[in-house]
Every structure is written in structure tokens, then in C-alpha cells.
Amino acid sequence: MTAPPSEATVAPGHGLRDIAPAGRSAPARDVAETEWTRGRELRWRLRRWILSPQAPLMVLGFALVLGFWYLAVDVFELPRFRALPGPTEVIREWTSRDPAYGTSIFTSSYYTDIWMSLRRVAIAFCFALALGVPLGLAMGASARFRHYSFPVLELLRPIPILAWVPLAILMFQTDEAPVVFLTFLAAFFATTLNALLGVQSIDENLVRAARCLGAPPWRVFRTVIVPGALPYIFTGLQVAVGVSWFSLVAGEMIAGQHGLGYLINSSYTTTRYPTIVIAMITLGIVGFLSSAAVRAVGNRLMAYRTRGGGR
């Protein structure tokens, strides 16, 4: 690799002057640049995070919650907390090669449950993305289409997902489909609405500018409407992942086989209490990771926002 291009040294929010002259051949430069930037950027961000007051505060936050749980359940056996599984029991069970209640990081059923839940969320999320984003964009771009579709959407949206359960079971005869459908539904509304808001948030003069630079309508849609709505679309997708997990667990508790929601419910009915907490914490972790993944994709697609220091 050649000497690091000077772009890489441009920390977000900094300067015009560090820009390398546009002399080198483009492809070679791009490859070198991305590799170099990525490695350095990662290290830089990690270092900054560890040195920031954020890291110790985060550890402190976790310690406080865990400490409270430990004291309330294991040490003082406070009323109401007495019946709950304590952290020592949960952690021992979770990491046991031979778990007393049948679920730990060494049992395959644990991963089957995670996988089933992840798969359902992924399918539902993809459907929500594939249907919700185009629908929301169309609603934003065409007033006519919006006039007859928006009221319907706004009427259906406030219906709690749980209210759909009987219909979902009636509609789909299998075990799997009703759960995916419920999960999809929640994600779909969030996605559609935000795509619509995204289009409406676009400065009208940007569209005018594109038109008077000679862009035909479909080109305006592709080059202005879609990227202009992207920040809102990703906000919608973040919300969608969140509500997906929410309605997934609700669905799994009522219908379906396997999955973390199912695990919680079946552990409850068979009094395997530590397993409930294991499943809950696992939900927290996978929920967080899926949200982070969506955010990472968004940041990648909207590099201009982080680089430009935001607008």
C-alpha cells in the first residue's frame, strides 16, 4: 500500500484543507483508502470510547442494576423479589454444561430457540421493508394515492397487535405463519409511516432544483425523493426492529413452536424460572444487536451525514 491518503486523517467535522489533490487514478485510490480508513477509524473510535467518560459510566450502570438484583433477591430476600431467580442462579444455569432446567449456552435447544426467533423477525422485517418502504414513498410522492391510502393506514395502525392474534390464527393454518404475520404487521406500520414522513420532510426546492436541472420525474424520484427520505426510512426501520421483537414474543407466547417467547411461556408453565430470565436477557442482547445492525447499514448508506457533521 502506498502512503496513506490524507483524507483518512480527516476526523468527522474537520476540514477542507486535508483533502488530497485529485491526481491519482480513482480505483486504486478508493481501495487503499477504504481499507486504511476502516482500520484506523475503528481503532480511533474504540480508543475514544474507552477514554471517554461513557465507558466507565456504562459499566457502573450495569453494576448498579446487577447489584440491586443480587441484593434484593439473594442477600436480603426482599418481599416480592424472594420468588424470583437471583443473578447467581441465573448465571450458573446459563453457563452450566449440565443445566438443571434444560437451557444453557451448551444446549442446542437454546440456539434453536434463538435461531427460530431471529428467522421470524428477519422474514417479517424483510416483508415490512419490501412492502412498507415503497408504499410509504408512493404515499409521499403522490397526493392522490395518499388521499385514499393514508386514512386506512391511520385507522389500522392504532389496533394493538395482540388484537390481531385471533384473525392471524384464522388466516394462517400453520404454526409458523401467524407469528411471522403479527411480527410483520407491527414493523410494517412503522416502516410505511416513516417512509411517508421522509418524503414529506424533503425541501420542496430540492425537487424544484432537480426539475430545473433537467431531471425527468422518475429520475427526481430516484435521485432526490429516495435519498432525501432515507434518514426517516432508517428511523422507521429502527423502530420496526424494536416493535418486531415486541410482537414476536407476544405471538410466540400465544401461537407457534420454539422461539424465545415460546421458551419464556413454556418455562413459566413448567416452573423453570431461571430459564425465563435467560430468555429475557437473550432477547435484550439479540434485540440490541439487530437494532445496531440496522443503524450500521443506515450510517453506511448515509455517510454524508456523519462526514458533513450533520445538517
Binding site: 483533502i19 489533490p21 424544484r208 430545473c212 432515507l230 450533520g310
Partner: protein, 285 residues
């Protein structure tokens, strides 16, 4: 009139604009607002025409009608004799021959400077991406904007962004460049740099310019002719030739000739503003 012709030949693509008896009203019945009424004037090819007038005199409405953002209700607008809008065609079609630079930046924030500048030629299919890029680099360089190509608009200062936007418009070789108070809200130092930059670009391209402003010194410094618009009805009240030779430097700003022209225009604008204000008062009473 002769002042315009005497200065320099118009650019190759520079178009002539003819505005005849144009009227534009919003709403109906009691709430009807007349923005333009029997507004007529001509702009010669390669002329730098500045429109000044009090707020609400219909300057921006007129610009929007030429650009094709909204329909007119009466009269006609022609570009090189071709009907843009008029009887039977209420609204012009926006197109790359009439490019607008707005008061607030409309650079696409998700595109780099280079992609912004090549946007017009590429979407119009006039050039391949590579040709457009080469041309854009040349034009940016000519405007003194080297090193910004790969930055996003959010990384530019407002002055640089403004210049990029003007280059983005000029790269299309429009028949007329429409500017709607492009330097409004800038501090006076930036503004003067911007004006100088715009004049350099104008002197090079000799495109026809339609420039709206509130700033009378700016109007006289930039314009070949300055038209003062009146409110209710919105139409051109008077047009003044600016017989100051080009290229113009900042030194012009202190010349007696410049001061006198500014005085003349100020007087006209003041009269119009007072009339508009009084008309407003009467309406409220």
C-alpha cells in the same frame, strides 16, 4: 439600451426573454390575491437584468413562472420566441435551459460536490458521466473551487456552497440563469466576494441573467439594467440602464457614477415601498 450591446457579445446560448402582460393571482372571490398584473418587459440575450422591489411585489412569482414551478393566469412568457407559458399552456415545463439558484442552498446533501455539478448534464443525457466529470472539474477550477470535488455540501462553508451551486447551474449552459436573492443573509464581506465571483463567471459565460434582490447596491453593482417592481399591481415600474463598463471591480462602488445610480434606484424603490405600505394600511383599515 446601447450600454448592453456595447459591453460584450452575448454568450452562445444566451436567450432572450419576453414577458408580456403577465398576470398571476391566487385564490378566488374576496381572498383573491393578485401577485402580478399586466407585467411586461424584455431581457436581451446576454443581459444581466436585476429586479428590485419591496417584499411581496411578485418578483419570486415571476421567476417561478419562468422556471415552470407554477402557472400564470394571464399573458405569456417567451424564451427566444418560443412560448414557455401563455394561453393554452398555463405552466412552463422546467428544464435545463432555465436553471434556478435559490436563496437557500439546494445542493443535494447526499451527493459530493462533483456529483452535484454533473447532475444536470448527466440526467439530461447530454454527456456521459466521465465527460460531465471532466467538464465539471474544469468549471470548478475556473471558479477557483479546487479541492472540494469529493466533499459533501455539509462540509462546505456557505460561501463555497453558493459558488458550487452557481457552477452547477452554469455547467448546463442555460439560456437564462435565474437567481433568487442568492446572497441574502450573508455577511457583507462574504457577499462582496460572492458578487465578484458571480461577475467573473458572468463575464466568462455572458449568459442571460435574471437576478432578484432587495439590495440596491448589489443591484447596481451587478446589473446591466435594473428594473424596479411595484406592488399591487406587481409590474415593472421603471428600468434603469447601468452604464458602468465591465469587467467591474470593487473600485466601482465608490465612483460618483455608481453612487448616483444607487441614489436613483433607491428613490424609485422607496416610493414603491411607501405606496405598498400605505396600500397595506388601507386594506387593514
Amino acid at each position: 439600451m446601447s450600454a448592453v450591446v456595447a459591453q460584450a457579445p452575448p454568450g452562445v446560448n444566451a436567450g432572450a426573454i419576453s414577458i408580456r402582460e403577465v398576470g398571476k393571482s391566487y385564490g378566488e372571490g374576496k381572498g383573491r390575491v393578485v401577485a402580478l398584473e399586466r407585467c411586461s418587459f424584455e431581457i436581451a440575450p446576454g443581459e444581466f437584468r436585476v429586479i428590485v422591489g419591496p417584499s411581496g411585489c411578485g418578483k419570486t412569482t415571476l421567476l417561478g413562472a419562468i422556471a415552470g414551478f407554477h402557472p400564470i393566469t394571464e399573458g405569456e412568457i417567451r424564451l427566444d420566441g418560443e412560448l414557455l407559458c401563455g394561453p393554452g399552456v398555463p405552466q412552463a415545463r422546467p428544464g435545463g435551459d432555465r436553471v434556478v439558484v435559490f436563496q437557500h442552498s439546494t445542493l443535494f446533501p447526499w451527493m459530493t460536490v462533483l456529483d452535484n455539478v454533473t447532475y444536470g448534464p448527466v440526467v439530461q443525457g447530454r454527456m456521459t458521466r466521465d465527460e460531465a466529470r471532466e467538464r465539471a472539474r474544469d468549471q470548478l477550477a475556473a471558479a477557483g473551487l479546487v479541492g472540494y470535488e469529493d466533499l459533501y455540501p455539509g462540509e462546505l462553508s456557505s460561501g463555497v456552497a453558493r459558488r458550487v451551486e452557481i457552477v452547477r447551474a452554469l455547467v448546463n449552459e442555460p439560456r437564462v440563469l435565474l437567481l433568487d436573492e442568492p446572497f441574502r443573509g450573508m455577511d457583507s464581506i462574504t457577499k462582496s466576494v460572492m458578487q465578484q465571483g458571480l461577475l467573473e463567471l458572468y463575464d466568462r459565460s455572458r449568459v442571460t441573467v435574471f437576478f432578484i434582490t432587495h439590495d440596491i447596491e448589489e443591484a447596481v453593482f451587478l446589473g446591466s439594467r435594473v428594473s424596479v417592481m411595484s406592488t399591487r399591481p406587481g409590474r415593472v415600474q421603471a428600468t434603469i440602464d447601468v452604464d458602468i463598463p465591465r469587467p467591474r471591480e470593487v473600485g466601482v462602488l465608490t465612483s460618483p457614477c455608481f453612487r448616483e445610480l444607487v441614489g436613483q434606484v433607491s428613490e424609485l424603490v422607496r416610493d414603491e415601498a411607501r405606496r405598498a405600505f400605505e396600500a397595506g394600511e388601507r386594506e387593514l383599515a
